[in-house]
Each structure stands twice: as C-alpha cells, then as structure tokens.
C-alpha cells in the first residue's frame, strides 16, 4: 500500500516536472502539443476509489494549469478524463481478474488493451482541452487538426514511456 502511494506520488511529481519544464517547450507549430502528464491518471490503480480518482485528476490538472496560466482548462479536461476512465474500465475489465496486479500497465494488460485505453482517453482529454481553450467553433477544422495531431504525439510518448518501464507480467 505504502509502495503504491509512494510510486504514484513520485510519478505525479515526475510527470508534472517533465510536462511543465520539458514538453511545454516541445511542439510542432502549436499544432501538435503533447500532454504526457495524463499518464498519471491512466496509471492509477484499479482499486482507487472514485472520489480519490476525481480529486487527483482535478489536482494534477490544476497543477499543470497553474504552470500553463490556463487555470481550470486542464482541470476540466482531466475531470472528464477520469469519468471516461471509470466508464472504460467498467466496460472492459472484469473486477475479479486483477487481484494480484492492481495497475493498468502495458506490461500487465497487454499492448492491445493499453493502446486502445490510451488512445480513447487521450482523444477525449485533448478534445475537451482544446475546445475549452479555443472556446469557439469558428475555426473548428484547425482545432480538430490540433486534437488529432496532439493525441498522436501524446499516445506515442505514453507508449515510449511504458516501454521504457516495461515489466513483464509476473506469473
């Protein structure tokens, strides 16, 4: 239990650090902007109670927002992300099958499941994020291109990160 809290805490700090000091400066002409920090929400253990999940999502969104000077935007997107995460896991994972390994990791859940999990959640998060950020449907095509390219970039970074910390399923 302590181990899980510690590792998640470290992950929180590390991801926010990478996001605000490294990835904030990376981007393809503002078209493709990676938001890797949502990996923290994706990797929270299955058993996290909903209130904690939403609270942590809100907090990490707020933290990133305070560095990005867009107070509330990332928090809103992360709240939506948390809801989609709850729905997605409810639909795809049987409760009783993961007593041993409680975290939705690539090494545990398999590439296929994790890939869809990451793609769908990232797409939702980025959609909400960019729509709230632009806050108009005037140039929706541009926003749509931003959403798609940014999602691809973020998912790519997530997969890279997951492969770096790849751990084969322990049986």
């Amino acid at each position: 239990m302590i181990r899980i809290i510690t590792s998640n805490f470290i992950r929180f700090v590390l991801l926010v650090f990478i996001q605000v000091f490294l990835l904030k400066n990376i981007g393809y002409y503002n078209l493709s902007v990676p938001f890797l920090y949502i990996l923290f929400i994706l990797l929270l253990p299955f058993e996290t109670p909903n209130w904690l999940l939403f609270l942590l999502s809100f907090l990490i969104g707020l933290t990133v927002d305070s560095f990005y000077d867009t107070l509330g935007v990332n928090a809103a997107a992360c709240t939506v992300l948390a809801l989609v995460r709850v729905i997605f896991i409810n639909l795809t994972v049987q409760r009783l099958s993961f007593e041993i390994e409680p975290e939705p990791k690539l090494g545990i859940m398999g590439f296929r499941w994790f890939f869809f999990y990451a793609i769908i959640l990232t797409a939702v998060h980025h959609t909400i994020l960019f729509v709230i950020e632009d806050f108009s449907f005037n140039d929706f095509k541009y926003t749509l291109i931003r959403i798609i390219l940014s999602s691809l970039f973020t998912v790519f970074l997530m997969l890279v990160a997951e492969f770096i910390f790849y751990r084969q399923k322990e049986r």
Binding site: N50, W51, L53, F54, L55, S57, F58, G61, L62, D65, T70, L71, G72, V73, A75, A76, C78, T79, V80, A82, L83, V86, I87, I132, F135, S136
Partner: protein, 280 residues
C-alpha cells in the same frame, strides 16, 4: 432518502464528475479573461438576437403606422419640390408701333390636363382669369390650332379642344380660298382626323391642300395652320360635300399652348350684333 443515497453512491462517478467539472469550469471563467469575455459576448449575442427577433415582429405590427408617417412625409417633401409651385408668371409680348395696331397678343400657358380618347375632349391650362384669359378665346400651339377657352377660374382655364363635338372653327382652303366650318367627331373619333363641312362641289380640292383659319371669327388670326386635305374628293351630284382633314396638331403630345387675345373682338362682335338687330 435511503434510495436516493443508494442511487448517488451507485453512480458516484458521475456526481464526482459533475462536481469537479463544474469547479474547473468556474475556475476557467473566473480566471481566464478570454473565455469569460467570449461567454459574455455569446450571451450578449443571444440576447441581442432575441431582441432583434422581437423588434422585427414589433416592426411588422407597426407597419401601417410607419407607412402612414412615411406617406405624410412624402407629401410634405413633395410640396416643397419646384414643380409643385404654381407658375404665377404670365408672358405676353406686345409690339408698340403707331403705323400698325396690335390686334392679337399671345399668352403662353402650360397644359396640365389633357384627353384625346373621349367623345368630348377638353384641356386644362395653368393660366386663368388673373392672367386675362376670358371664355371664348382661341388657343393655338406651335403646329396648329388647339381649341377655344371654355371655362375660366382664377388660376386655371379649361379649353374646349378641337376634338370636341361642339367646337366649330371657321376654316379656309389656302389654294382655293373656299371656306367652311371645321368639326370633329362626325363619324369617327380619330384624334388626327377632322371634317371640313360644306365645301361647294365646283371647288377643285386636291389631296395635300392646306387648311388654315379664315379669320372670320376673330378668335384666331387668319392663316393659322389647321391641317391638310386627306383625299382628293370624288365628284358627286350634290351642291356641296365634306372634306376629311388631317390635323397638324398632335393633341397627344401637347405641352405648351398660346392663348390668343384679340384686342378688337369686342368691338367686332358689338358691330355685328348691331347689324343683326338692324336687319331684324
């Protein structure tokens, strides 16, 4: 109550979502001026559109009132236009020469009403009693005769047009000096054709002969053009017959006319009346 709590706890994810999402949206709108401004703008836009719709409806309901006021304004503006003022200026030319006495003077008048398609046509001009026009005066235009003044008011006069069944004008054929009286509307109502009555059959009338005023009536000076003979007439056994005349005046395009004032007509009429009385 218990059921409600069960419901809330069963779908707690959704309620957490609503709570946190609302919080973050509040943060967004409280702290980001762009989003706040655009929300206010869009709500203003919405309200503005609603007001606009309402105004359109109201405008439609007030349409009668608005059109009335516009018509009143139009009338007011129209009354200020130059052509709505009456031309109270009469032009009369007179030559003073002691070797000749001026018998006729001419007064320019503008046609303000005209008709040619009726049985008895009349013309209204914009000069009246105040300009010295009296009933019975002759009216001519640049191309021929027009008619005889019928009624006169202070500023207007009506003319019994040549195209009137009661109009009779003494006319003469220039080439032969034969004279008769010119009438219109005997058989047809063509505004270009009149009839010259009672020309003796021994007079040789040819097509194209000129018809002019005779000067007998003192309404018109002698020699004012009336028209031309339309057909060379056939010989018949009668003593006299009628001649069709193509009028030189185009009554359909009449714009300016001259009213003929005869300075000696009163004298002449008085003398003729005296003679008739003496004969009786």
């Amino acid at each position: 109550m218990r059921n409600l709590l069960i419901f809330i706890s069963k779908y707690n994810a959704f309620f957490f979502f609503v709570f946190f999402f609302a919080m973050s949206l509040i943060l967004v709108f409280k702290n980001n001026s762009f989003q706040r401004a655009s929300t206010l703008n869009s709500s203003n836009l919405l309200i503005g559109q609603a007001y606009e719709r309402y105004n359109t409806l109201q405008k439609y309901l007030r349409l009668a009132q608005v059109s009335d006021s516009l018509a009143a304004e139009n009338a007011r503006l129209r009354s200020q236009l130059k052509n709505s003022f009456y031309q109270n200026k009469a032009e009369e030319r007179m030559v003073n020469d002691t070797t000749t006495l001026q018998q006729y003077t001419y007064l320019v008048a503008q046609v303000v009403n005209n008709s040619i398609h009726q049985k008895n046509n009349s013309i209204t001009i914009d000069k009246g009693r105040s300009h010295g026009i009296l009933p019975g005066m002759g009216v001519i235009c640049s191309s021929g005769i027009v008619g005889i003044v019928d009624n006169v008011s202070t500023h207007y006069a009506t003319i019994k047009s040549l195209l009137h069944q009661d109009t009779r004008i003494s006319a003469r054929i220039t080439e032969t000096q034969a004279f008769g009286s010119l009438v219109w509307g005997q058989e047809d109502y063509n505004p270009r054709i009149a009839t010259l009555k009672d020309i003796p059959n021994h007079v040789d009338v040819k097509r194209g002969h000129h018809i002019v005023t005779s000067g007998y009536s003192a309404l018109f000076p002698a020699g004012i053009a009336i028209g031309r003979v339309r057909d060379t007439r056939k010989k018949t056994g009668e003593i006299s017959s009628d001649i069709k005349v193509i009028l030189s005046t185009d009554f359909s395009t009449l714009a300016y006319v001259y009213v003929v004032k005869s300075n000696f007509s009163a004298e002449k009429q008085a003398l003729e009346l005296e003679t008739e009385e003496a004969d009786d």
